[in-house]
Subunit: 300 residues, 2 copies
């Protein structure tokens, strides 16, 4: 028989979450289970959402007063859609404890930094971060403590920020089960534009195209979705507010990669029209390589 | 204790498979396990593939003489890429037994019918079919008997064909675990263009676009693929020959749906450029509905 391992001392005394959707509630559940914090409170603008969070016991308390929630917190994580981060930072700023860390979970980093940084009070450490994790479900009921397990969390510390604060936040995310990577905000936005934003945009488009089909054809699409389409519907069921904000706030990187994608798609379209099988084969053969590389990295 | 259920008499005495890749080998394994046939032989043009099939014991015998394999067979299924179906039918035609059924598994129906029908001897029943099942793996080693379990098989009987022959083929596919649907060939090609061919084309394109990225960016794409991109890589790892033939042989339907997709994508692209969040939200919200419909049908 082995002696149960003693849990390390909590990294933070009080964690405050602004927003308690899929990500916020999963952070709360993971942080409590792993003993990363002593107390975790949350605030959301919606009374109904707060009621749900309290009923489910996801946090010690969830209210609707954002500024009140951050009082005495030594870690504050803004878990709202990207478009609301700046305004939320403005609201909570006056109540933030000197020496505390404030972070976010946005899928876009440059725009969030642009919006939040002007409101961060002196003496508070702003360390933006992005856990690359999610499901197609939203709201506090959707959260679960293993959401971040084995997934990347990208931390994008700003120039001049206290390195110890960034390291403590990284430690927190590792405690939630994540693998942490440091990255510059602009590079993050470019990479995520390719691996996440473009695939979501494409999935939304193709499912929308199918949804526009007339009656009988649409029901056949649903019936026979197993042919590849199904994978797209899962992606295209993701939270619409979150994704609207992502595209509005990572416009340049998305438009740039989208232009390349369009070019490549027209190249294939033309090859189909002209019956150029060799061009199709060459690309279809080549794309197997990236899957192999993924499998080698155990990402698939 | 229950008495083991007696297996029904085989539906066919001898099954001959032309081609023994993922689909052919899975048919052989399912047909044998379920006692649907007494004997199953196969033939493939590649000696190496035949050797593999024999070594794995997937069929009673696999050779490289296509015409020899179909002798005395009362069911012949051509399991080669769509582009080779016509020529294979021409080669096996002289040896086909009167009264036998010949079918295929092509993802495209109109072109396969155009290519195969002229060679089908009088007295042989040609019943085209398409099992909507597959994985990203190819070759006889990739086959497994449960591939068709719970998946659709679309049978597209031609006008004037013996209805009993179509029903027997449908019975065979049900025996392999499939759900069978009868459909007109042109309608099949339209529906599959949407649920399968377009998604594959898009996945191939996006993975190709990422693959073209310069060094560091490409390795980051692989590293952080979990953000949505991963689902596309699986689809884009499918057999290149099969998919080349699909696009060359379902050109009209694919180009038509692709044009609609392009229009829709440009609409979203423009909305991103002009910051029209309401348009993005409306589409992102709407696409959730089709996922719900899918879940209701237990397809997801």
């Amino acid at each position: 028989m082995s002696v149960p391992e003693a849990k390390p001392a909590p990294l933070f005394d009080k964690l405050a979450l602004i927003g308690i959707g899929l990500i916020g509630s999963s952070i709360a559940l993971a942080a409590k289970r792993e003993g990363l914090v002593r107390t975790v409170v949350a605030a959301t603008r919606s009374q109904a959402t707060a009621d749900t969070a309290n009923r489910l016991g996801i946090v010690d308390h969830c209210g609707t007063d954002l500024a009140a929630a951050v009082k005495d917190a030594d870690l504050v994580i803004v878990c709202t859609p990207v478009g609301a981060c700046g305004e939320n930072m403005r609201v909570i700023a006056p109540n933030m404890k000197p020496g505390a860390i404030v972070s976010d979970v946005g899928s876009v980093k440059q725009a969030v930094i642009r919006d939040m940084r002007p409101h961060v009070p002196a003496g508070v450490h702003f360390v933006p971060a992005h856990p690359i994790a999610g499901t197609e479900h939203s709201g506090p009921e959707a959260g679960f403590p293993d959401l971040f397990k084995g997934r990347w969390c990208i931390v994008t510390p700003l120039e001049g920020v206290d390195r110890a604060a960034a390291d403590r936040l990284a430690e927190f995310w590792r405690g939630c089960g994540s693998m942490v990577e440091f990255m510059a905000p602009d590079w993050h936005d470019k990479v995520l534009g390719i691996v996440s934003h473009l695939p979501h945009l494409i999935a939304y488009t193709i499912v929308g195209t199918a949804d526009d089909m007339a009656g009988e054809q649409r029901s056949e699409v649903i019936k026979f979705a197993a042919g590849g389409f199904r994978d797209f519907t899962r992606i295209a069921a993701s939270d619409p507010t979150m994704w609207r904000d992502v595209f509005l706030n990572n416009r340049e990187a998305v438009l740039e990669i989208l232009a390349r994608f369009q070019e490549d798609l027209f190249y294939l379209q033309r090859a189909i029209r002209w019956g150029e099988g060799d061009k199709l084969f060459e690309i279809f053969e080549r794309t197997r390589g990236i899957r192999r590389a993924l499998l080698d990295m155990k990402q698939a």
